[in-house]
């Protein structure tokens, strides 16, 4: 094989994309990495335009412009809290675009359909349609349009397996069938795969969404890559493969952080929540102390006396939009010479890394954001932990409550700290549906209510104490 000038340019562009991702390994270089990646993508588009003589195709420029404007508006208006549903939506659009490309190829000139094109085209169509169907549901759940709890239709497993079987059979049949039948079969694959995507996502509970959108991220890349085979386009193959690998890395990371196997998540096992409340770890512990039971000054004194403070934010903080108040509290504490850090559980929030973005938005410096493994050994030397809207990720029941969704999940060991203040909305179980025995511990003070108000009150107490 001889490399043409085009191939060399394409190779350089892919190299640039990889280098851009490499720069994402540090927040200092990540902005440059992203710019490099976008420039390489622009280069790849221009290369394709010149190579295939579509410079004068006004309709295509118009499509590109329309998509670009829509993307730009989306990116500008979305809030950081809404990032999971945006990513889910974009997963779906990517998968949908790849499915459409495969669709056009399969239904094109039958004489041009060789075995590779037929098999990769139908596979890209299937994977793309699964991604689209799954992402639509995932985005709907994350956006609150669809109930977050697992939804089961009558004979759910049977329908899932059936749609999967039809998809696989369709892909196999397209290879054997005469070229003329490809069109009809492609419609069958599209519908069955879309149905499978919907069915497998709709039974996944909200707590497993970080895993789900990581997986769909991977699939959207895979669809692009396989479509690249059908079109014999090396850029699509490589870039798609990179995205596929990235989604896989994140899926693994999330599964490990929740101690779940991917199969368990996909089959919706143990996400429905336990039927019976879990026995509290601290047997015979007194009833939950609320701020009414404990005189308010003690909170102020606790805050004033602590030297090392770790703040544990959870999705509840995002829900009540209390990021600014949390930042203010940390500023107040630091102004008094205290050491403040943030403990970030890998699954805090609704997608990988979500909590970091939410805190970065209110100017919390990233060197104060500590990963779970780094901060866990340090809780013993911590005077005070302030939990804001987090429940499952600090629930000690994860170690003891066999058979519950969070059993075996690594948690933040906040119980090692001397005092804990929990600013949660209520004492209801979290997303996983497991009661938190921590609420009845002696060294725990509960401040129930809207985190925005309770955290602001904490900062106020601190001011009053000095």
């Amino acid at each position: 094989m001889t490399l043409s000038a085009y191939d060399l340019v394409a190779l350089a562009l892919v190299g640039g994309m990889v280098w851009g991702i490499h720069w994402m390994n540090s927040p200092r270089t990540a902005v440059c990495g992203n710019l490099l990646g976008s420039l390489c993508m622009l280069g790849a588009i221009l290369l394709t335009v010149f190579r295939h003589g579509i410079l004068t195709r006004g309709d295509l420029w118009l499509s590109m412009a329309a998509g670009s404007v829509a993307g730009s508006v989306l990116a500008a208006v979305v809030s950081m809290v809404q990032m999971p549903q945006l990513v889910a939506l974009l997963n779906g659009l990517g998968g949908g675009a790849s499915a459409l490309v495969a669709w056009v190829v399969l239904r094109g000139d039958p004489s041009a359909l060789d075995a590779v094109t037929k098999s990769s085209g139908s596979l890209a169509l299937a994977v793309g349609a699964v991604t689209l169907g799954g992402s639509v549901i995932a985005a709907g759940k994350l956006h609150g349009k669809i109930r977050a709890r697992p939804i089961l239709v009558y004979h759910h497993t049977l329908w899932s397996l059936l749609s999967l079987a039809v998809t696989v059979a369709g892909v196999a049949a397209i290879l054997a069938a005469p070229a003329g039948a490809a069109a009809a079969l492609s419609l069958l694959i599209l519908l069955a795969a879309f149905g499978f995507g919907v069915l497998f996502t709709i039974r996944i509970g909200g707590a497993d969404m970080p895993i789900t959108i990581s997986l769909l991220n991977s699939l959207s890349g895979l669809a692009a890559s396989i479509a690249g085979f059908a079109l014999r386009n090396p850029l699509l193959v490589v870039a798609g493969a990179i995205v596929g690998a990235a989604g896989l890395v994140l899926t693994q990371h999330m599964c490990r952080a929740m101690n779940r196997s991917l199969l368990n998540v996909l089959t919706g096992r143990t996400t429905a929540g336990p039927q019976a409340p879990v026995e509290a770890g601290a047997q015979g512990a007194p009833a939950a102390r609320t701020d009414e039971a404990r005189p308010a000054p003690s909170v102020a004194v606790t805050l004033a006396q602590a030297h090392t403070v770790v703040i544990v934010p959870g999705y509840g903080m995002a829900l009540s939009q209390a990021q600014r108040q949390v930042k203010d509290l940390s500023d107040e504490l630091e102004a008094r010479g205290k050491e403040v850090r943030f403990a970030i559980h890998p699954v805090a929030g609704r997608m990988p890394g979500h909590m970091n973005v939410l805190l970065a938005e209110v100017d919390v410096p990233y060197n104060k954001l500590c990963e779970m493994d780094a901060i866990n050994p340090e809780f013993e030397q911590t005077d005070l932990v302030v939990v804001v809207g987090a429940n499952d990720v600090i629930n000690p029941a994860a170690a003891t409550a066999v058979g519950t969704p969070i059993y075996g999940m690594p948690i933040l060991h906040v119980t090692d700290a001397k005092r804990i203040i929990i600013c949660n909305k209520d004492t209801q179980p979290g997303y996983a549906g497991v009661d938190n025995p921590l609420y009845t511990h002696d060294n725990v003070t509960l401040l129930l209510g809207d985190a925005k108000e309770t955290v602001a009150r904490l900062a106020g107490e601190l001011n009053g104490a000095n």
């Binding site: 991702i21 927040p27 993307g71 675009a97 056009v104 989604g247 050491e339």
Partner: protein, 101 residues
């Protein structure tokens, strides 16, 4: 291009991607995902080629829709990633406690 060479490229891409992406700290996993959204928009290249080669109006419209959808990913993905990455700031001045790695 030969299918075997493409398969080789696929394996190399997945392997290199896996290695590079494992180095990205979980601090940046959300922007990483949105930049992967942008990268999966690479399918726009395929959509452009398919549109240029389309035989019927129906196919052309399908391919044009694919071009537009993929461009939403490319532009939206890179732009929102940029927005997020611009938020990450290290501590200014002194008095900080370096994070334990």
């Amino acid at each position: 291009m030969d299918a075997w060479i493409l398969l080789l490229l696929f394996c190399v891409g997945a392997g290199v991607g896996y290695k590079v992406i494992r180095q990205v700290p979980s601090l940046l996993h959300t922007p990483l995902m949105s930049s992967m959204n942008a990268l999966s928009g690479v399918t726009v290249l395929g959509a452009l080629v398919a549109a240029a080669a389309a035989l019927s109006t129906g196919h052309r419209v399908c391919a044009m829709v694919a071009v537009a959808l993929a461009m939403v990913n490319v532009v939206g993905g890179f732009q929102v990633t940029h927005r997020m990455l611009s938020l990450f700031r290290s501590e200014k001045g002194d008095g900080g406690h370096p994070r334990n790695e």
